[in-house]
């Protein structure tokens, strides 16, 4: 049985990271070039890690499924990136950022990791600025900030509604510099099919070249997964349609524990589903809630044009329920409040599954120009999708699956339970507990990649300097390659009648209905049996055209959907196990009289880390008790 050792350094919280760095084992520059590191994924965390490791002189190989590293889905993050600079003189500090994240995560994250994430946030902003990321500035030439949900300070740096794009391109540029120097080799259009584990250590990967179909072996002294989240489990989500959990899932099946899989953030403000063909839900940044007010009509089924509904007939439900934070409540709270109003029959639009996000008052007060400066591109995006102009009438929005707080379990060094396998960015579980605060994902991804992993990985690699380059003809590589090919052949051999996307869509509906914003025992149990039935049907009736050779996008999809169908089950098992409500995990059975989540700290103040025990066997639960040495666990109130 695996014993979870989170390896949290001794000492006071604010000194742990410094002490760790002072005592960590190092690898000399001469030895670094003899050590190979594989990085999967080129989003902010992956590209940052690859470039920082390349700068140190390691021999780095980077993989992504897209045609270019610049396309990774970090590119779509909109609103901003947090840092504890306190440029606004509003009482911010590393401690306050840490505290906000712990509270925002509903006391289900690890203190030491969260504090460190807050600690390196300032370095991240310095580095991005030096890389030429064009953050918004004030007229005096200094950096501007704005507010995000769940906090009472202004600490979010931004580049209009395209902060993720600009930060990602910053990472991409530092990656390119290393590619030019020859420290990093880039392998685009590759999908990781398996992790190769030799004598208990991560030693390489099997990939498929998505153009030629060739199956390739790559070895390394350490493997870093930076593969993002699994929000596409709902089929419709704010993620890129090809985002997938397959690499992390393969690692799980090779022995890495998967932590808190059911902690998925549903983002309150997205363009609602318009029709049945839809492939994607587009996010409308949380930053809009700085100036936008959410409301529904006070009368059920009011079909009047929103502009004709007078002030006294509008219910500004967030301001009513949460006067202290108003429209800037955290995402889980906002999403549930929207759902509550819509379920009660006050929703608007064709489907009744939408509420208004209204800028009328802000435009009146600040002028159209000021609003355009802040949100111009978001307003345009909304107009492009819906054909409606948010300067003239309120946006219609509804929650959608967005970010996964759960992910591979990692210790303080960001290493999984497989020695030599690391997980960074969204694909690990460590920093956001049961709910992530806005603008902290870019912060965590960049912090993990640029500043944390490069400092912790040497502690492992220092013991590897005598291990020569790993040959790829070892039996473990043969076995991994063989099983990867067998699986692809199995997908092709089903030869049924239904496409992979169609199965994905059906899975998404089960997950959204029973494992979405609100969960209960009955629904979860139903979901479990429906997922199992669907998986059986998948392996009997899937249709994949073509062959393993050459470009085959349907085969790629089918492999990912097969993994989703397995992950979905683990997600439900985790949600059933956690008999409490916390953050995004809202179990109807556990709520306060006024509908707020009811935590059970006595029994559930732990990270649920699941171990794979073989095909058809139930996963085994390992608990990492969460000890709060600095923060006192309280009811999380935004009222």
């Amino acid at each position: 049985m695996t014993i979870l050792n989170s390896k949290i350094p001794e000492g006071p919280l604010s000194e742990k990271w410094t002490r760790y760095k002072e005592n960590v084992k190092l690898v000399s520059p001469a030895n670094r070039k003899k050590l190979d590191i594989i990085v999967i994924g080129t989003g902010i965390s992956g590209a940052a890690a690859a470039s920082a490791l390349g700068e140190l002189g390691y021999n780095v190989k980077v993989f992504c499924y897209q045609d270019s590293p610049r396309r990774a889905h970090s590119v779509a993050a909109q609103g901003g990136i947090n840092a504890a600079k306190n440029y606004k003189n509003d009482g911010d500090s590393v401690y306050r950022l840490f505290y906000d994240m712990i509270k925002g995560g509903d006391y289900r994250s690890r203190e030491a990791n969260v504090y460190r994430a807050a600690e390196v946030s300032n370095q991240v902003i310095d580095h991005f600025t030096a890389l030429g990321v064009p953050f918004a500035r004030d007229y005096g030439g200094t950096l501007d900030t704005r507010s995000f949900g769940g906090v009472q300070v202004s600490r979010t740096f931004y580049a209009k509604g395209q902060t993720g794009q600009q930060c990602l391109l910053g990472c991409y540029s530092s990656l390119n510099r290393q590619i030019k120097k020859g420290t990093v080799t880039m392998f685009p259009r590759r999908e990781m099919l398996d992790l190769v584990v030799i004598e208990g250590r991560a030693r390489g990967i099997i990939t498929r070249n998505l153009i030629t179909g060739e199956i390739e072996r790559h070895s390394a002294h350490a493997v870093v997964l930076a593969t993002g989240g699994y929000g596409t489990i709902y089929y419709l989500s704010t993620l890129a349609v090809n985002s997938n959990p397959s690499a992390a899932w393969k690692a799980y099946k090779r022995g890495a524990l998967f932590a808190n899989p059911s902690f998925i953030q549903i983002h309150p403000t997205c363009v609602p589903q318009l029709n049945d063909y839809q492939s994607k839900l587009t996010l409308m940044s949380e930053s809009l809630r700085n100036d936008g007010r959410m409301w529904v009509p006070k009368t059920k089924g009011d079909t009047r044009n929103p502009n004709e509904i007078p002030e006294e007939e509008r219910d500004y439900f967030l301001e009513r329920r949460y006067p202290a934070y108003g429209n800037l409540v955290p995402r889980d709270v906002g999403s549930r409040a929207v759902k509550e109003r819509c379920d009660a029959g006050y929703g608007v639009g064709k489907t009744g599954l939408a509420v208004y996000l209204d800028f009328r008052d802000a435009i009146k007060k600040q002028g159209k120009k000021a609003i355009e400066d802040k949100y111009g591109n978001l307003f345009e995006l909304y107009k492009t999708i819906t054909g409606k102009d948010p300067y003239e009438e309120p946006m219609m929005i509804y929650p959608a699956g967005h970010y996964t707080m759960g992910g591979l379990w990692v210790d303080y060094e960001l290493m999984t339970t497989i020695p030599g396998l690391y997980a960074i960015g969204e694909c690990n579980f460590s920093d956001h507990g049961a709910n992530r605060l806005g603008a902290s994902s870019l912060m965590q991804a960049a912090g993990d990649g640029y500043f944390i992993l490069p400092n912790t990985i040497s502690n492992y690699l220092a013991d590897q300097i005598k291990t020569p380059r790993i040959p790829v003809n070892l039996p473990e590589f043969e076995e991994s390659e063989r099983s990867s090919i067998e699986r692809l052949e199995k997908l092709l051999a089903v030869n049924g009648r239904e496409t992979a996307s169609s199965f994905h869509k059906r899975l998404g509906k089960i997950m959204w209905d029973y494992v979405g914003m609100v969960r209960n025992e009955e629904g979860l149990t139903k979901a479990l049996s429906q997922i199992r039935e669907l998986r059986e049907e998948f392996w009997k009736n899937l249709k994949v055209p073509g062959s393993i050779n050459g470009l085959n996008q349907e085969l790629e999809k089918a492999g990912r959907v097969a993994d989703f169908l397995e992950l979905a089950e683990l997600l439900v098992i985790d949600a059933l196990n956690r008999k409490e409500s916390c953050g995004a995990h809202f179990r109807e059975e556990y709520q306060t009289p006024d509908g707020e989540p009811l935590r059970n700290d006595k029994e559930y103040a732990y990270v649920a880390a699941w171990e794979y025990t073989g095909h058809g066997n139930p996963p085994v639960l390992h608990k990492e008790e969460l000890k709060f040495e600095v923060v006192e666990m309280k009811e999380r109130s935004y009222k």
Partner: protein
């Protein structure tokens, strides 16, 4: 809506391609162009055919993966948007749509509507960065940047690298793409230090890869889904002259 699609089909980079005709019925005006292709592909797979290959990912206009030439325009006839945002409400019942990949020598076709745009990465690798090692950055506010410059740098930096500018240009010029990166860095003090080396390296690589020169017709600006301005090319030229 009923539509006739004339889609470019090409097995791989070595094979010869040709247009094939597909008839689509029940196209909803609420679909995006890519969702319409999804529907076609679903049908093709179910009928045992070969689905149309096309690049796509974020489907919200920011990753730059998608790029289809529709009725003679990169990303279709509506200005300022990517293919994934092109709504079918812009087309008429009964219309015939010509659907092609980007056509440019430096972007060889891989399959159907997918082209190889790695040339763009090569140009960025040549010099599209500021040389600063992790950990060595000064405090962010220690270098003030004039707001007007920061805003202009942002307006250039929003290029998504889709390649529409190249596809639109009769010379297959990549100058709008290159100028966007050059401008972003030329406008801020952090980027001035290596400005000369950068512009030389990127232009040299662009030429080496077979992209043509700008002839000031402005097709790139007209077709750019992010409305990157052609004035950036003027800045690229100025930077280039200054570098020698």
């Amino acid at each position: 809506m009923k539509l006739t699609l004339k889609i470019w089909r090409q097995k791989d980079s070595k094979s010869k391609g040709r247009f094939e005709t597909y008839h689509m019925e029940n196209v909803s005006p609420e679909m995006s162009f890519l969702e319409m292709l999804d529907a076609l592909n679903k049908r093709l797979v179910e009928e045992g055919g070969d689905p149309v290959a096309f690049d796509h990912d974020c489907r919200e206009g920011i990753c730059g993966s998608c790029g289809i030439y529709i009725n003679g325009h990169p990303h279709g006839p509506v200005p300022g948007i990517t293919t994934c945002h092109l709504s079918m409400r812009y087309f008429n019942d009964g219309e015939t749509l010509w659907v092609e990949p980007w056509r440019a020598k430096p972007f060889p076709v891989i399959k159907d509507l997918i082209v190889d745009r790695s040339a763009f990465d090569k140009i960025q690798i040549a010099g599209g960065f500021i040389s600063v090692d992790t950990g060595s950055a000064p405090e962010a506010n220690s270098i003030p940047v004039r707001k007007q410059n920061a805003d202009m740098a942002f307006d250039a930096a929003i290029c998504i690298g889709c390649g529409a500018c190249v596809a639109a240009c009769k010379n297959a010029s990549a100058m709008l793409f290159v100028s966007a990166k050059i401008s972003q860095f030329a406008l801020i003090p952090q980027g001035r230090i290596e400005a000369k080396e950068r512009v030389r390296a990127m232009v040299e690589k662009m030429d080496e890869l077979g992209f043509g020169n700008c002839s000031n017709t402005g097709a790139c600006e007209a077709e750019c889904p992010k409305k990157i301005k052609i004035s950036n090319i003027a800045r690229l030229n100025r930077e280039y002259y200054k570098a020698y």
